[in-house]
Each structure stands twice: as structure tokens, then as C-alpha cells.
Symmetry: D3
Subunit: 196 residues, 6 copies
């Protein structure tokens, strides 16, 4: 059977891409062993691709703040599940398992953050992310107070909100374009490396 | 009475900003007569600011496609109202009035797109934008067919969806930071230029 | 271009109206400088018109109670926005601006009462109005206690609830009849009188 | 055990009421055998009482139009159940049973109009009433077309919408004041008169 | 007029049923004076019928725990109303009236549990049942604490949740099959026995 | 680290269980290699356990009807995800992967049935299941017609609805008791047997 397409829109061939896109894609392929489909599907629009990746990197690659890389992925998985975005739940679920070295955590957070094996601090973080996702206009000072009580400072709160907001964009683009997650993501991080 | 702050977060002074941010801000001020607060409030995070503006420009300044500049603003106003984002409803409501030269259109679209004085094509465009805004996972081929029947091609549909997705991010950042629209926006485009 | 009709239903000419309707309409015209369309659109049914105006006057023209005229308009704007009623948001938004002498307040309250430049007491008043608007069956003693803590007595609470209830009726009639706000309302109260 | 109060607010004694209220109340008592609590509970505010009754009579006592008296009560019961208003479901459920001479119809319509023993025309009527009740801003020309196909003219459609709108007000006032239905209503119309 | 069918599906004749089903049905008929339609409608699938009745009996006929028989019926009526299940609201509303000897209680609980003439303990019980009915994934330790404060132990809480869960199944089967309540239920428990 | 408990309620030891429960549990263990936690967690109440398993077997082990075993699991996964039930999404997701021999299908259906790699017939089946899950009172003849057009007969439709209804019960019991899926389920069916 033919593989279903990875996007409802045309997907450019690697050789037809602007040099900066191609370079980044080859770098990711080198590191991950495959090219996550989002890099190819969004390349349909190079200018938007560049802005998307710049935003992504500003939020997820930065070193400052108290949010661990795993916690950032928790936010992505929880809010992407609320937005019913298959691409982000599957791709970031994989990254979350890898970062946290917890093979069960992605399904736990996707289905019901309340029942996940996470800390009370992380539970508060996800409750706030869900509020930004679903009803950001109700965010108020009381939410900030609550999060500060869990040790988050205001910059951390910006991070939680901004990651939620950015993946709200990402989820909608993935749903619009019927973006398909790479098969590789489904299994990633489920089995300890030395076992496979 | 003191003016309320334009953001819950610290707002950098113009002279403390990186050169590229300052240049863009001065350019906008030159053109508009004032600096829209979003340029200052988001400057709290220069890397995110740059990505945000690049995305904004890619979607709103591009010349291709069949969506007029006014139609793009209609999408922003309709979906920002659904997200209860005061900044975007007020700021882009102003821009919409100016582009369309219709002083009543912003409130019409913000309160109920169905009752606005717009064309059936624009009504279909806004209905799709609202679907991407509220339940993007239900977008399917039938939506594309419907829009094609109104003369939109698939690139236009990407534009509608992407503008909605981007302002979904923008709305959440504005709500998170309690971003305040400039007073100037409220009156802009309501009175024919030669009358004031 | 022809002006769109102000109602989906036939609108009687002034000279065809019963004397009491005509007298009131002329009085309003005298005072406001134009006839708000609700007076004409509902005149399609004189008996209902009379009851509507009597109810309106009982709630909005009375002198007793601690709710200012501006506060009553805040309730109308907030709940009419929740009901997506263009007529009431635009017409009462104008009246609100005039009463409060605050040109920004109508959009603030229509888009997100939490972010409006109002007092904590007014915020509590609007939260209760929204509860009566959206889920009146959940109103309970705790709501009364909360409002009493802000200085409202039980008669004030009846006023808040009754204004909300009456405009719930009004919003539905305006939406049913596709009632169109007068163009004049959009600009009213935005510019200090001596400036125009 | 003491009877619970019929309202959260003070209920005036009959002798303390303005003459016109007392006259109407005595007339109702004469006819029904008891005074429905709404007449007493709303008498807390005579001016509003008068407007309420005038509106009520204009919609429910009028002879024109194709809606039978039973059909008007169907609308009231269906929308009052959606608004979780005990007073109106119980009181108008009783009147509905009496008018239609169908002892089962009130529960059927309150719980699920789709499953009630009513005609397709009545089902369409209630579907429209529910739309006016829950999302009146989505009412459009297609709804009118559908109802016309069932033999309703535009005046009938106004009636359906106006009854829904008026009881939306009534439901909110009853919920606000914790209005209690008279015990008599619960049994009314359940047993053929000659059997009891 | 022909009686409407009691199910969208074929209803087996008593003589065609397996012996155990027939025996139970005759026993119920003996006791109640008529056969509640659920026994006949579900008999379309004998294996499911047996499991259904076993579950029902395990929850409703057991003697242990602090929930009275009337309280169990309150749970059924409140959650079945939320699920818009006519069969269960009418049939169990009747049983509730009989057990509690309160002719008004079924409508009170079906329309708005908050306004019913029940104890604070029963109100907390129904609030929890509604949570299990509508958003069981949000049940957490705080709910258990609250109920313990009203004197429920953890086995009682299981009972509340399990009755809600079982009637969630029952409501869906009744809605799927368009199950019709027996006419007898509507009047049951409304009039003191010695008066009829 | 200690394993978290599999239920908020006490879990009986195998040797303390009634003989019939123990026998079934040992049989399952023999077949699956481990005991799914639902068998142990629900054993807290043997009478309910028996009814639960009888219902389960009547729906899932029967040979008649056109629904394949994999399709029944699709229904369970889709509706359990809507109910945010971690146990059922994970456990039945595993069974679904095994039956369908499709390692990606569980996440696809849990996150967004519209985007799953399934047939149009299966998509219609899941749309109906979701309707029974979320708003069973709206099920009507048109739904039956639609499903018949996809080759389902009325017995199949009963099966779809009954599986949905039964897992609605199961989801609520799992959420009530904080039932934890066995770790084994997460990986099951993801890798072809001969590869591990």
C-alpha cells in the first residue's frame, strides 16, 4: 500500500528548497536519523517556515528559566491533545518520553494530565497551560500567585504561556494541512536504548 | 489618573532595545504616528519578538493570493473576538476600518460575523476561520470544497488558516500579558479623514 | 448603495403608528437627534412594544438603588456581547460611553469585562450578570453574599439580574429580527463634545 | 414542617398591593382556584410586574396566528427546561397538559423534545425555539425557510421567537428569586377531570 | 390511536423469552402491577439483559452502605435528566416519589437539583454524581474529602459513582432504542394511596 | 521507587477472591501473560465484577454481527479518549493494535478519529459512537439511515451503541477509582512479534 501523503498541500523536494531550509533539515536528519514531517510540510511556505522555526527555537532551545526540557514537552503534549492535533501529540510525545526517560508519560499526559505520574508543581504548570489554551482571557493575577507558590517566577509563566500559544498555532497548521506524523515517532522512547 | 501599564510584564525603554527592534519600531511610529503597544510589550523577549514580526509580515505583508488586506483584517477581528482578545479586536478593528473605509465594520464582525455588511464569499471565509479557531481538528475536505466554490484556491485557504493560527498565538500572548491597546486605535477609521 | 433594512420584518411608517407609540418616538427623536431603530423595529407589534418599553423604563429610568446609570449600561453591554447581539452592543455601548464619559469602555467591556478599566465592585457586578445570563439556575446564596460584600443590597442584586434578564429578551428579539443599529451609535461618545 | 418560601425576596400581602395588581390576582384565583406564585413573587416590584404581565398577555392571550395555545406552552416548557427553570417547567407543564389534554406531554417535552408525541411541524417549531433560546445570533434565513415549509408564516415565527425570548426573561427572574411553583401545578392535568 | 412502540427494536413476546427472563418479568409484574418497558425492550438481547439486571440488582438491591433507597433514586433522576433520558427520568422519578413519599421531588431534582427540597448532604451527593456523569476525569481527592465531610465513607462514594456510571449506560441504551416509559409511571407516587 | 497503586480503593489479593473470579483471572493471566488491572480493581465488589464481565463478554466475545473485533476496539478507544479514561485508552489501544496489526492506529483514533487510517465505513461507525457517547438523546432515524448506507444493519447499530454505552460505564468506574493501566499495555502491538 502506498504511504498516505504527509500533508494536504504540496511538499517540496529537498533539492528545491532554499539553502537555509535545506541546511537545517539536513542537520535535523543527521541528529534524529529522520526528518520530522513538520520541517517538510511547512516548507511549502519558506518565509513562514523561517518564522516558525525561529519562534520554536526561541522557546524550546533557550537555556534560561526553571522549566526543564521535559516540562516544556509536557506542556506541548497536554495542549496539543486538547486541540486534537495528531502530529504534535505523537511527535512531542516521543520527545517527552526521551527527555524524561519515562515510557508511559506521553499517553498519561495526553489522556488526562491529572492522572499522570508528575509532581504537583508540574500539575499546576499544566493546569495553567490548559487555561491559556482554552480560555486565555480568564488568566488573571490569581493564576500568577498560584504558580509563584509552586516556585515559578514570572518569566517561567511567560514560558508556559508562550509555549502553549505557539503550539496552538502549530496545532492549527497541522490540522489545516492534515500533517502526518512520521511512523518513527510512535515507538521512540518506549524501550530502553540498550534493549533494542 | 495614571495611565494603566500596557503589559503585566516589564516594558523595555526604546533606547535599551536591540538595534533591529528599535529601527522597526521607529519606522512604525513614523508611519502610524504612534507605536502600537504590541511592538513594545513583546520586546520583553527580543528573540520571540523577531519571530513574531517575521511571521506577521509573512502573512500580512505578502502580495500574492486573492485575499485583500481588508479581508485579512476581517479574519483577525472575527477570531480575536472569539478569543476575547481586547488588544487585537481594538487594534485590528481600527486597521480594518481604515483598509475597508467602512466605519461600522469592526463592531459588526466582532459581535456577529453573520450580520456584518460583507459578501457571501467573505462570510464563507470567516466561517472557515472560526472553524480553524475553535475546532481545527474537524477541518476536512468538505470545507475546502466549499471555499473553492467561493473562488478561493488552496493557497488562499492556507492564508485564511494561517492568519487564524497566528492570531490565535497573538491573542493568547496578549491575554497572558494583559496587553493594553493604544487609546489611538479606538477612534481610528471612524471619521472620514477630511472631516476631522 | 441602498441602506440595508433595519429589520427582517416590516417596519411601520411613523404616521401609521398608534398615537402613544408615535408620541414616545418623537420625544426620543427630539432628545437624541435620531430615532433608535429598536423603537421602529419593535413597533411591528404595538402591544409588545408597549410592554417592552414599560419594562425598559421600570429598570433603566428608576432613581432608587445604588446602581448608577452607567453601571446599568455596563451590564447591558457585557451580557449583550455574550449573546452576540449587535444592536444592543452598539447602541448601549454608545450610551455607556456617554454616561461614563469614557470613550474606551464599551469595547473593553464587550470583549472582556475582566480587562476593563472598572472598579472591583463593578467587576463583581458584571460577573454576577454573566452568571444570570449564562447559567441562572446556578445562582445561589453564595452569590448574594459575595455581592453584599461589595456593598450591593438585595434590591441592587434584583436590578442586576432583572436588567440582564430583560436584555436577554431584547437580544433575542434583535437577533430574531436582524435588527440593525443606527449608524449614529458607532461614533457617539467617542470624542469630547467640544472637539467635534 | 413549614412550607418553604415562594421567593428569596419579600412577598407582599394581597392587601398591600396596588389595586390593579390585586384585581388581576383575584381574577386569576377565581379562575384557577389558586394564585400562581409568579403573580405574588414578582409583585415585589409593581412596575416590573405590570410590564411582565402586559408582555405575557400580548404573547399568550392573543387570538391571531397559527400557533395553538397548547403549542405556545410547548415552547415555554421546552425552553424553560433548557434554562433549568423549575417554576416554568412545572407551572407551564401543567397548563400544557390541560390545553393538550395529554397527561404525558410535559415530561416528554421537558426531557427531550425529539422524543415527544408531537407532530413534525411541532418538532420544527421547538427546534427553532431552542435555537433562539441557546444561540439566537445564529438564526438566519435558512431557519425561516425551514419553518415556512412547515406552514408557519413570518408572524408565527415572530411568535415562536418572542415567546422564547420572553420566557428567557421569566426563567432568569424565577431562578434569581428562587421562585417556587405552587404544589397544585404538579398534579394538574394528569388525571381526567371526571376521574378525580 | 395506536400506542407508539416501546422500542425502535423488535420486542419479544413474553412466551418467546428464555425461562429466566420470563420468570423475573412475571415477578416484577406481580409486584408492580405492570411490566416496566425496560424489561421487555432490553430482552431483545438476553445475554445483555442478564448482565444489565445483575448490575442493576448489585447496585440498587444491596442493603449495605449509608445511601437510602430514595437517595439512590435521586442520583438516577438527576443524572438521567442531564443525559436527557425520558425513560429513566419518568420511571425512576416515579420510584423516587414512592420511596421518599414526596410527590414534588422528581421534577425538582430533574430540573434543578440545587433547588430541590433535599438536605445539604444530598445536595453534595448529587453534585458529585453530576461530576461523574459529565466530567468523571476531573474527580479527585478533594471530591472525596468533601463527601467524607458530609458523612459518606469511601464505599458510599463508590456507590454514588457506580449508580451514576450504570445509569449512564442505561440512559444511552434507552436513547439508542427510543425506549418509551410506561404510561403508569407518570402518575405513580403523586397522590397519597388512600386518596385514590 | 514504589509502583503507584492500581486503584484508589483496596485491591483484594487473588487468594481472597471468590472462586469464580479467581478462575477467570487465572485464565486471563494464562492467555495474556499478565492480569489486566481492571480484573483486580473491580474485584473490590464481586457482584458488580460479575455483572461487568458478563456485559463485557456479551458485547465483545459474541460472534454474530458485521463488526470485526478490531472495529469494536476502535469504538472503545475513540469514546474512551472522549471520556479521558487513561485505563481504557491504553489497554484497549493495545488490543486494537494487536487485532488490527496496525501499530499506529491507537494514537490516531484516540487523538482524532477523522484523521485515522480507517475506511469511510469505520469513520461513520465512529461518528455514531461519538454521538451516543456525547449526546445520545439526539440519536434519530437519520443516523440509522446513514449507517445502513454503509452496510450496517440495525443489530450492528445496537452493537455500536451498546459498546459505547458499556464503556461509558467502564470509563466512569476507571476514573472514579483512579484505575491504573498495566505498564505492559503501552508497548503491546507496537513491534512485530518476531522483531522483539
Amino acid at each position: 500500500m502506498d504511504k498516505p501523503p504527509i500533508s494536504r498541500y504540496p511538499v517540496p523536494a529537498l533539492q528545491d528548497l532554499p539553502e537555509d531550509l535545506r541546511a537545517r533539515i539536513l542537520e535535523v536528519q543527521e541528529k534524529a536519523g529522520f526528518v520530522p514531517n513538520v520541517f517538510l510540510a511547512l516548507a511549502h511556505r519558506p518565509a513562514e517556515w523561517r518564522a516558525f522555526m525561529a519562534y520554536h527555537d526561541a522557546l524550546l532551545l533557550k537555556d534560561s528559566g526553571s522549566l526543564s526540557k521535559g516540562e516544556r514537552e509536557m506542556i506541548i503534549v497536554a495542549t496539543s491533545a486538547a486541540n486534537h492535533c495528531l502530529y504534535c501529540v505523537v511527535a512531542h510525545g516521543a520527545i517527552l518520553r526521551v527527555y524524561e526517560k519515562k515510557p508511559l508519560i506521553a499517553e498519561q499526559i495526553a489522556v488526562n494530565p491529572q492522572k499522570a505520574d508528575i509532581s504537583p508543581r508540574q500539575r499546576a504548570m499544566l493546569a495553567f497551560a490548559m487555561k491559556v489554551c482554552d480560555e486565555s482571557h480568564r488568566v488573571d493575577e490569581a493564576d500568577f500567585e498560584l504558580l509563584r507558590g509552586h516556585g515559578f517566577d514570572d518569566e517561567d509563566i511567560w514560558d508556559i504561556g508562550a509555549i502553549t500559544a505557539f503550539f496552538g498555532l502549530s496545532n492549527r497548521m497541522a490540522n489545516l494541512s492534515a500533517m502526518r506524523p512520521n511512523d518513527e515517532f510512535y515507538l521512540l522512547g518506549r524501550v530502553p536504548r540498550n534493549k533494542t
